[in-house]
Symmetry: C2
Subunit: 247 residues, 2 copies
């Protein structure tokens, strides 16, 4: 049993849903409950969760205690431990150490998905840390020192991996160079969904033919360049559930 | 450098192709070259590679030496080591120890996919052993002793995993019971493609809506039953490339 650090800070929660399967990255296919926090320090051009990012949705984000979040995760999972995926927005902006220690004490494991713009001491508690620095097409700037801090913050038992989203040729070239600096990190490349659902148009159908073409293009690039330590995966949930929320 | 066991036995080869990505199981998304052997001791009702199974295609299977197979793998991969996936048919019917040791000496890694009906001493050399015993819908019988032999044959460094194909409710219930006997093995559940391309109809289009419905059904079953150590994955190559061969 680890010591639970009681915090009086609340967590800004956009949504908690599941169990479903993780649709992307190294843990693709693994049953999980998603805890999506509200608020982000980025605003990527192709963001697919603007309802958890833009300040105009702030009223939709419930301030919840770690105990309340964990109670909801337990309710959804019938009290049976599983993987909890912390996503956002940028979940690294939130005070999550108490949530993680509470959950782990009950057998739950924790993965986070963050862009690597802010490190937290509680990264050391995580089972999985997925860092997803943004490519040029996102139109965000990259802070190498902060990214290094995130890597540094991982604990000895934290499985760290990289997930790079690729929208175009420039992103691909950037990813080649970026990943070369981290040869020891498991790497997933993911074609960008250029037409994610918008809060104003949640029913927007994805163009599956276009997504498949993007995936094929990426597989062709990776195999032609013999980039054999890069794993190529689509966003499975987009293929299966279209752009639907809460699955 | 391991010692290469020179064999004068040839390997029956149906096709060697790639690099592409592995489309299913624990290594989904990983770049790989496929070495598909010809010949099988099973004839599953929904087999998707009859051209590597039925004796009437035997004339299409080239007898190749391990050196010749490895030369082709090297040509396809530009001499750069990657994952080699041994599939079939049932590749466990073939003499593959020399191929594996030759390839590993050059930095290649080896995964096999087999139903677990025949163990080979060279399973101990493998990096990954995926055992895929067939569910009731395949209309094949299961030999528990032979399956146990396969598990026993894995080496200390062989990563063993289970992949169970699910076509219907009976398969699902079978999988629940089967997997319960092997709690330590990583498990992937895969919805069955009920309409694979046939040799007579290689251009048959897959019904993507039906495959998606099957995947959703399986995710719903697994999450409703809180089967949280089961990973649920589709056959990515079928979603991406339809039923096309050689990708």
């Amino acid at each position: 049993m680890s010591q639970i650090i009681i915090s009086d800070q609340s967590i800004a929660i956009s949504e908690i849903f599941g169990p479903t399967i993780q649709g992307e990255g190294a843990l693709v296919g693994v049953p999980t409950v998603f805890v999506r926090t509200g608020g982000c320090d980025f605003r990527c051009s192709w963001c697919d969760t603007l309802y958890a990012v833009e300040p105009r949705f702030k009223a939709d984000w419930a301030p919840m205690s770690a105990a309340a979040v964990m109670a909801e995760v337990q309710r959804l999972s019938g009290g049976q431990p599983l993987l909890v995926t912390l996503s956002g927005g940028n979940p690294a902006l939130q005070p999550l150490s108490e949530l993680i220690t509470r959950g782990q004490d009950q057998g739950y494991t924790f993965a986070i998905e963050t862009q690597g713009s802010k490190a937290q001491p509680w990264f050391a508690l995580l089972d999985h840390l997925t860092l997803s620095p943004k490519p040029p097409s996102a139109k965000m700037s990259f802070n190498a020192a902060r990214f290094a801090d995130c890597l540094e913050a991982a604990g000895p038992h934290t499985q760290v991996s990289l997930k790079l989203v690729i929208a175009d040729e420039a992103d691909y070239q950037w990813a080649r160079e970026f990943a070369a600096d981290y040869p020891g990190l498991p790497l997933t490349l993911q074609p960008c969904n250029p037409a994610p659902a918008m809060p104003e148009q949640p029913e927007l159908e994805t163009d599956l033919a276009d997504l498949n073409a993007r995936l094929r293009w990426l597989v062709d690039k990776v195999t032609a360049d013999r980039w054999f330590n890069a794993r190529v995966l689509p966003q499975l949930h987009v293929l299966i559930w279209n752009n639907e929320r809460g699955v």
